[in-house]
């Protein structure tokens, strides 16, 4: 299954090679042109049969993770976060270091030796380290180097009522939906951008949109979902199981109202459930795309993901499938002259 392969590939921001190679392999027979640009984005072009405004669809390949900063004399490894992480998710986890995927564990001081006030404080990066079972600095440095990227160890698992648990659903879901679109037939020509380094500041999207120079930008995302019971409903940015989330406004974009209305209408016409992303926190590649060159009209369609930026992202496959359906219908609407 492609989503399993995509989420189990490691692509911490700045080191997307595994994911990039996998995507190129998947799409190369379905597109008319494909290139990897100077900063590592994949830009693919699939020629259609009719003229439409120029459509760019973007999904980012990278995921949040860690990077090796130091190896101490006993062989324990210090690290820093890559992208926005809640440090509290790190304790008592298994990680994979570097391209050889060296196994390591992030442990913690035994509870027996903690003072009670210690237990109420989150462990910070300077108290955390990775143990690979090396007995010395020399032994560790043979297999791990400063600067190696570190990814969570998390298997793709289906569970519950059509739910999925995996790492990096943000944004391999977007990658997968975009791959599926390229494999299908569209009348419109499509520029697909699989971008790098979104999680560390929307880095890849700027050069990608500069090169493509789109009229319409569609960003596919896995987005935060705060539907925990103890969160008041107005703070729940999205809900799992209620369909693709359409963005209204975030820290990087005020999304085009006409485009949004068109998407809502399309969802209604096709009986596809949808919801709005009811939070203005966060941002995504749209921020770069809508301000590239002379600008573009953009939207973001997201699959709601619980526990995002952790090893255990959770989504509903129904939402995922409905996001793909909605994307296809929106493209069709553009082909029919909507949004002119």
């Amino acid at each position: 299954m492609l989503l399993k392969k995509l989420t189990e590939a490691n692509g911490v921001s700045g080191n997307e090679k595994e994911v990039r190679d996998l995507i190129i392999e998947e799409i190369k027979d379905y597109v008319d042109d494909i290139k990897v640009d100077r900063i590592g984005n994949i830009i693919a072009y699939k020629k259609g049969s009719i003229e439409t405004p120029k459509i760019m669809i973007a999904a980012h390949m990278d995921e949040v993770g860690l990077i090796v900063t130091k190896i101490d004399k006993s062989g324990l490894i210090s690290f820093k976060p890559v992208g926005g992480l809640d440090k509290r998710i790190l304790v008592s986890k298994v990680v994979k270091i570097g391209k050889d995927r060296i196994s390591g564990v992030i442990g913690a001081k035994p509870i027996h030796l903690q003072k009670s006030n210690e237990r109420s404080k989150a462990l910070d990066y300077n108290n955390l380290y990775i143990d690979i079972g090396a007995k010395s600095n020399e032994q560790a440095e043979k297999i791990v180097q400063v600067g190696d990227y570190i990814a969570f160890d998390s298997e793709y698992i289906e569970f519950g009522d059509n739910f999925v648990k995996a790492k990096a659903l943000d944004d391999r879901v977007g990658c997968n939906i975009l791959i599926d679109l390229l494999k299908s037939d569209t009348k419109a020509s499509i520029y697909a951008a699989f971008t790098v380094m979104e999680e560390i500041g929307l880095v890849g999207a700027a050069p990608a949109s500069y090169q493509i120079d789109p009229d319409i930008g569609i960003v596919l995302e896995g987005t935060t979902c705060a539907d925990a019971t103890d969160v008041e409903s107005h703070l729940q940015s999205t809900n799992v199981g209620k369909g693709p989330a359409i963005s209204l406004m975030d820290r990087t974009t005020i999304f085009d109202r006409k485009f949004r209305d068109m998407i809502v209408e399309t969802a209604k016409e096709n009986n596809i459930p949808y919801q709005f992303r009811r939070s203005s926190a966060g941002g995504n590649d749209s921020g770069r795309i809508h301000t590239a060159k002379e600008g573009a009209v953009t939207t973001t369609l997201s699959v709601p993901c619980r526990y995002i930026h952790s090893p255990i992202n959770v989504m509903s496959k129904d939402d995922y499938e409905n996001t793909g359906r909605l994307l296809k219908q929106v493209i069709k609407k553009i082909e029919e002259g909507g949004l002119k």
Binding site: K87, R88, A108, L113, N127, G133, F159, D161, T224, A228
Partner: protein
Amino acid sequence: MDSKKFLKELCEGVGISGYEHTVVNSIINEFKPLTDEIQIDKLGNLIAVSRGNKDTNIKIMIAAHMDEIGLMVKDIDKNGFIKFTNVGGIDSRTLLAQEVLVHGKECLFGVIGAKPPHLSNPSERNDAIKMKDLSIDVGLKKEAVEKLVEVGDLISIKRSFTDLQGNWVSGKALDDRAGIVAMFECVKELSKLKHEADVYYVSTVQEEVGLRGAVTSTYKINPDIGIAIDVGFGATPELPKEDVIDIGKGPAITLGGNIHPTLRKHLVEIAKEYNIKFQTEIEAGPTGTDARAMQITRAGVPTLLLSLPLRYMHTSVETIDMDDIKACGQLLARFISSITSENLEGLLCY
């Protein structure tokens, strides 16, 4: 079975305190062919007996606990999320973003989540998340969860056993399944040696909640010598040097009030004689292990404790060196083999 494979099977198995019957068969399968007798007592302790080669009636009891810490269902909330409490000592900081198995009518996969960090203020993010603010998500609505899960059902952490560099391994419940495997190493080693004593290998229950299995099993066996095998705090940089033992340097032979001094001296001599690496762990008061319960059973039992150095105790990434487990088994076997009806009385004198 190869010891590492056995340890993997034990650690990936589930046996939370009070519910050890779910892991006991794995232990029986390995001990049965190598011992003379298998018993299970009323509390669930598994006792495997190897008879000695002389009718001297010396009884040596070895104990390692088979239970592990875990969680228990307290409530199912209106959205189907499961609230829980701990069984045994758990640092709630180790639970966030963990995968679990909920052992209801069916075994359900789930994950432990909390309110997303962007909804808390930045200072809160420096606070540990409390257990009451954590929930288990099994991907089902309330009604569906209620059909499968009841209050009081157990929850275990789902963690694959992981090979690290060298002979180091990591996983959950190495405390004290590693001790069970040390007994297994001893059984294998002892089959090559002669021993006068009857050896009782006890996989005890409910150590993590108060050393309860050791109380009843020691009473039943009434041993001449009791030896507990448990894990000790493996050195890491944040721990005071005086509180820890080093991983990879062999089992620690504990010293202190819980330990019989003459027997301990003999154990150290055996380790030196057979060139088995060992280190010293000091515990002035009663140890937090089965040795403590054994020592004060009936009219008192001369007790020893061997500690396997283990890092990150009571997390799901406990880390140990297989070589330490093997060395512990060898030392035990040599010690047992050295005990005879001639020397026993002298070794028990003060």
